[in-house]
Symmetry: C2
């Protein structure tokens, strides 16, 4: 059997997230699987690198599936982009060794979070950023980001109550770039827990707005208590940029 890797871009606005639910019409996984069935006449389950929440976007989600189809990679690429809705785009189709697994083989990921930091809202980026009009102290937020970098138990910055698996992760870097009125946060690490980037973002923004002290980061990392951290920032500002293997 062939093992096919897909690199996928999607505007998550209309969807309940990556993972297929009962109603396949409203998830990215469901949409892609139904096009694969059309294409190969096989009933196939695709494996994503991980889930994305309802409303979250991706520039480089990765998934794989096995098939007996003999269709060329180029024909597959055209078929996908012809039959998928216009808010889901397959950017790359590659042939992989049999052992490649889109979830197990992940070495790291990059996420972006966009914050529209201006008193006046934005008509164009309203579904692709979080409108946060309050003044933000960038130096304070950079301090918070530095504290978060490194290897820590991030359970207090996740939506998990308990976990049998390790909740220790390494964040290689968090950067903040100012692009006009847009603040662009980038997170690179070996893995992120459920809702971790959004809770980190909510906390960093409350620190920037002066509602929480920078030391809250140490407290949440030590005490591992979700309640001490900031609110969960909305899904619409979050992009899965890239998955590293």
């Amino acid at each position: 059997m062939r093992n096919i890797k897909l690199t996928i871009e999607y505007d998550g606005k209309r969807y309940l997230g990556w993972q297929r639910l009962g109603d396949s019409e409203k998830t990215i996984q469901g949409k892609i699987e139904s096009v694969i069935t059309q294409m190969t006449t096989e009933k196939i389950e695709i494996i994503g690198s991980g889930r994305t929440d309802a409303g979250t976007h991706a520039l480089g989600q990765v998934a794989n599936f096995k098939t007996n189809s003999e269709m060329s990679l180029n024909d597959m690429l055209s078929f996908f982009n012809r039959y998928l809705p216009s808010d889901i785009v397959v950017k790359k189709v590659e042939e992989m060794p049999e052992r490649f697994h889109a979830r197990y083989n992940v070495k790291g990921k990059q996420y972006s979070y966009y914050v529209w930091n201006n008193p006046i809202p934005t008509a164009f980026e309203r579904y692709h950023s979080f409108y946060f009009p309050q003044k933000l102290d960038i130096a304070k937020m950079n301090e918070a980001c530095e504290k978060l970098e490194g290897t820590h138990d991030f359970i207090g910055f996740s939506a998990l109550k308990k976990s049998k698996k390790s909740t220790t992760r390494t964040i290689d870097a968090i950067t903040i770039e100012q692009e006009g009125n847009m603040l662009h946060f980038t997170f690179v690490g070996n893995g992120f827990l459920h809702k971790m980037v959004r809770i980190l973002m909510g906390t960093i923004l409350e620190i920037g707005a002066g509602k929480l002290p920078v030391t809250i980061i140490d407290e949440v990392l030590e005490q591992k208590v979700r309640e001490a951290a900031g609110e969960t920032a909305p899904a619409q500002g979050l992009f899965l940029d890239e998955v590293y293997y």
Copy 2:
């Protein structure tokens, strides 16, 4: 009476264009006028710098209206952005001398047109650009743009059949910038006829794709025949960037 100038950004996707029609719910002008009525309890007609077509966007449309309201400019700004739908944003509210007229006083305009020039489509910019996957010869398109610059009778590049008013306009500059897979065309001039930028764009793209020779520009300018020019490029790629007074 006070004379108020508005600078307006809008995502034109959901609208029938700028100009109010019977059904005020589907035009930008209609939306803004109904918020002004809410705000001032006056029934007011606003004057736009000019119309924009259904589906066309604006970063800096300008309009003015007269009112007896004593509301501060800041309160007006907040009121607009609170009650307008999220795809229409008032960016600036200014007090003007009585004689200021948003249409009569226009000295020039800048438009942008975005072309997604890649075999793979874009999930995010699909409503804010024209997906044109064919290879384009940028040098040829630049040649066409140079021929268009200057003062000409542009009636052949417009949707007008005949006109009692002059159809001579001056284009100061047309530039092409490559931003990744996006081609960004900018048009600056003292005025543009109905659908002129979209017909110019359609023609420039057909020249770039090798379907029309560069000399078609001279022909249309001399013979003033719409039929000789290229197709009208879709409204969704067009942005009114700025109006000069």
